[in-house]
């Protein structure tokens, strides 16, 4: 059995990577990811983790170095945030295209400018189409479990894709939470050593990253996209395995008090916990409201999502980033598009909130329900509303 400890989430994330026996960690420091890589360098320095810690000179080189080490057959981890993720942008696509099982913890933070070190989802929403599996953690325990799960899924020979585990900067990374840390034996039972099907080995030479001429590029992209879509069943399978091994259950879409709910919040990441408390308060007042939380962002679990919202009349989609020039934030834009194709009838209200570390309170969520219900009743076409803007 694991032990229940009070631990800063960043340290717990690093400990989880240590329990996974990563062979290489290549990372560049950026707030609020720093504690994750600081602790990993400590684990290596103290001899608790037998790994190469490569203190690269940029995030671009971090991801490039990860590609090299993963291609050499090593279990590879990195972590970044915000501008660092943006600097990696070019290389993230190539990691997926080379089918390398790199795991990255993304400490979500706003993008410049103006420069801001605080939390929102602008960084990862700019990386939606990189071809990586992407999950969102709501609390410290999820960060640990999703990290173990990330290696398990990434290295599965049916998948062979990189995985990004998203955790909200500061709100999760810098908070001490009670977390059940698994024992080494338990992790070993869940996650065997990485055995790549091919690697850069002079005994068995292969060429990786060859040119995609027009005759082959389309097919290569289709195969890559199909691999991401097909990873869905493996992701679920390894969450089931995680439940068996550690006793904690994970689903692609989580629901909270959705039975008979007319209004549903759709959230991602740590804000979901505040929403749950707002839902509780409104339920006490007899308002039929619930919550749907997207844990698996890529590949998007559309059928699970449609099932979760089936009984609702109105959705309140919370976005933590903007799509300038579009009438909705990134999550609402995507959901509306997918729901339209499914013939869904729900009214979709969209609120952008919590940008650059702005707190979002329980009462603001309650106000969103009032606004959304009013808009839904009048049938007005609703553009996204930014919450709490000082004008």
């Amino acid at each position: 059995m694991g032990r229940r400890v009070g631990l800063e989430v960043s340290l717990a994330c690093a400990e989880a990577v240590g329990l996974c026996n990563a062979d290489v960690v290549a990372a560049y420091p950026i707030t609020p990811q720093t504690h994750i890589v600081e602790h990993l360098s400590e684990l290596v320095a103290e001899g608790h983790l037998d790994a190469e810690f490569v203190p690269v000179e940029s995030e671009h080189s971090a991801m490039s170095c990860c590609i090299g080490s993963s291609a050499a057959g090593a279990r590879t981890f990195t972590s970044t945030s915000s501008q660092g993720l943006a600097l990696m942008h070019e290389i993230l696509f190539i990691a997926a295209s080379l089918r390398l099982p790199i795991v990255m913890a993304t400490a979500n933070r706003s993008l410049s400018g103006p420069i801001s070190i605080w939390n929102d989802h602008s960084d990862i929403m700019a990386e939606r189409d990189i071809g990586w599996i992407q999950t969102f953690a709501e609390n410290g325990q999820e960060v640990v479990d999703l990290t173990l799960h990330a290696f398990k899924v990434a290295e599965d020979k049916r998948v062979c894709l990189p995985v990004a585990v998203n955790l909200d900067g500061f709100i999760l990374t810098h908070v001490i939470e009670p977390i059940e840390m698994p024992d080494q034996e338990e992790v070993d039972a869940y996650l065997p050593p990485f055995e790549p099907s091919q690697s850069l080995d002079p005994a068995n030479p292969i060429s990786m990253g060859v040119v995609g001429m027009p005759e082959i590029y389309t097919e290569a992209k289709k195969a890559n996209a199909a691999a991401l879509e097909d990873s869905y069943s493996v992701i679920k399978e390894h969450w089931e395995g995680l439940a068996k091994q550690f006793g904690r259950t994970y689903k692609p879409i989580e629901t909270y008090r959705t039975d008979d709910a007319e209004v549903l919040f759709v959230t991602m990441g740590s804000l979901g916990e505040t929403v749950m408390s707002a839902v509780d308060q409104m339920r006490d007042d007899g308002i039929k409201v619930g919550q749907v939380r997207i844990r698996l962002w890529r590949p998007f679990p559309l059928d699970d999502f449609m099932e979760a919202i089936a009984g609702a009349k109105t959705l309140i989609v919370i976005d933590r980033a903007l799509c300038p020039g579009l009438p909705a934030g990134p999550v609402a834009t995507e959901l509306r598009g997918m729901m339209y194709a499914k013939g869904a009838k729900q009214y979709v209200a969209n609120f952008v909130c919590g940008l650059g570390g702005r707190d979002v309170t329980r009462s603001q969520f309650i106000e969103m329900v009032n606004e959304a219900q009013k808009a839904a009743a009048s049938g007005e076409e609703m553009s996204c509303r930014m919450v709490g803007v000082k004008e």
Partner: protein, 318 residues
């Protein structure tokens, strides 16, 4: 870590009779006729041998070697333009960890990164500096053809003064390239890495011995190879080697090594040919006026004098 001198104690020199017969880089590539770069690359690969793990930056050599079929007989990876050194450091770090943990055997694989001058002196300089500073055991080969040839002959910071490129065209207000060539070997040497060298395909045995030394010495090594590009330099494909030879003989591209900080001339040019003789072989310099050539001659002489001084001051005390 052992010193370069110690690592080279039992160094077996390659001679014209013992040039390795292996061809890690072989048939199936689509380089231009007379390409000096692919010739240099083949010599490097022969000197490293079949234990090479090659990392290529985007560029001519990557494109011509990996479309439809691969010309690489040893493991090869290409990721992007500016990151060959970072990818190579990852390959090295990954293998180091796996060897230490007993998961793979240490069969003496050599990690070698290949990049052009743009990928080295411009867009990839940061990644290269980082990898050299961190001390990874790898060899970085800069195949310098003095412009962005793969995209159509645009100037880089390694383009020589006066050269015509598609982004440094000569005209009433321009002499062509208006800046002096960036001195990459000196930049690499400033990282205090155990081995830095310049090489030329016109001295192929010297080139191969430098590569062999680079992969023998533990830690990072940097070799800057002069790589004539007939297409971009506007010279005959049959003149590549002659052009490369003239560059050395005119002191435009001196051949030297820096071993553990000591500068050693590979070839002292006591009777240099005039720079003009080198310049006139290539139409990229055909617009230059006598005063431009005189200016180039002056700076080439000064650069060579400085190199000689470095040889003197870094020589071990007698």
């Amino acid at each position: 870590m052992i010193s370069a001198a110690e690592a080279l104690k039992d160094f077996q020199k390659i001679t014209p009779k013992t040039i390795p017969l292996v061809e890690p880089f072989s048939k199936g590539h689509r380089a231009c006729q007379g390409c000096g770069e692919v010739l240099a690359l083949r010599m490097v690969a022969k000197a490293v041998g079949m234990d090479m793990i090659a990392v290529s930056a985007t560029g001519c050599m990557e494109i011509i070697s990996s479309s439809y079929q691969t010309a690489w007989e040893t493991p090869w990876i290409h990721v992007a333009f500016e990151n060959a050194a970072a990818v190579a450091s990852g390959v090295e770090a990954g293998r180091k960890a796996l060897i230490r943990k007993g998961r793979i055997k240490d069969a003496g694989a050599k990690v070698v990164a290949f990049a052009g001058d743009g990928a080295t002196a411009d867009i990839g300089l940061q990644a290269l500096s980082g990898a050299l500073e961190r001390g990874h055991d790898f060899t970085y080969i800069c195949l310098d053809n003095e412009a962005y040839m793969n995209t159509g002959i645009q100037r880089s910071s390694s383009t020589p003064y006066g050269a015509m490129t598609t982004t440094s065209p000569p005209g009433p207000k321009s002499k062509g390239q208006m800046t002096w060539k960036k001195n990459m070997p000196m930049i690499a040497a400033a990282h205090n890495v155990p081995y830095v060298a310049t090489a030329s395909p016109a001295w192929h045995v010297d080139l191969m011995n430098k590569v062999k030394k680079a992969v023998t010495i533990p830690g990072p090594a940097y070799i800057h190879i002069f790589s004539p590009c007939p297409t971009g330099w506007r010279c005959g494909p049959e003149t590549s080697i002659e052009t490369a030879r003239l560059a050395v003989q005119s002191k435009v591209f001196p051949l030297f090594e820096v071993i553990d900080g000591q500068f050693i001339l590979s070839r002292d040019i006591k009777k240099p040919k005039p720079v003009e003789e080198y310049l006139k072989t290539q139409r990229r310099f055909s617009h230059l006026k006598p005063e431009d050539i005189a200016y180039i001659q002056k700076r080439v002489d000064a650069d060579y004098e400085r190199l000689l001084k470095l040889v003197q001051v870094t020589a071990p005390e007698a």
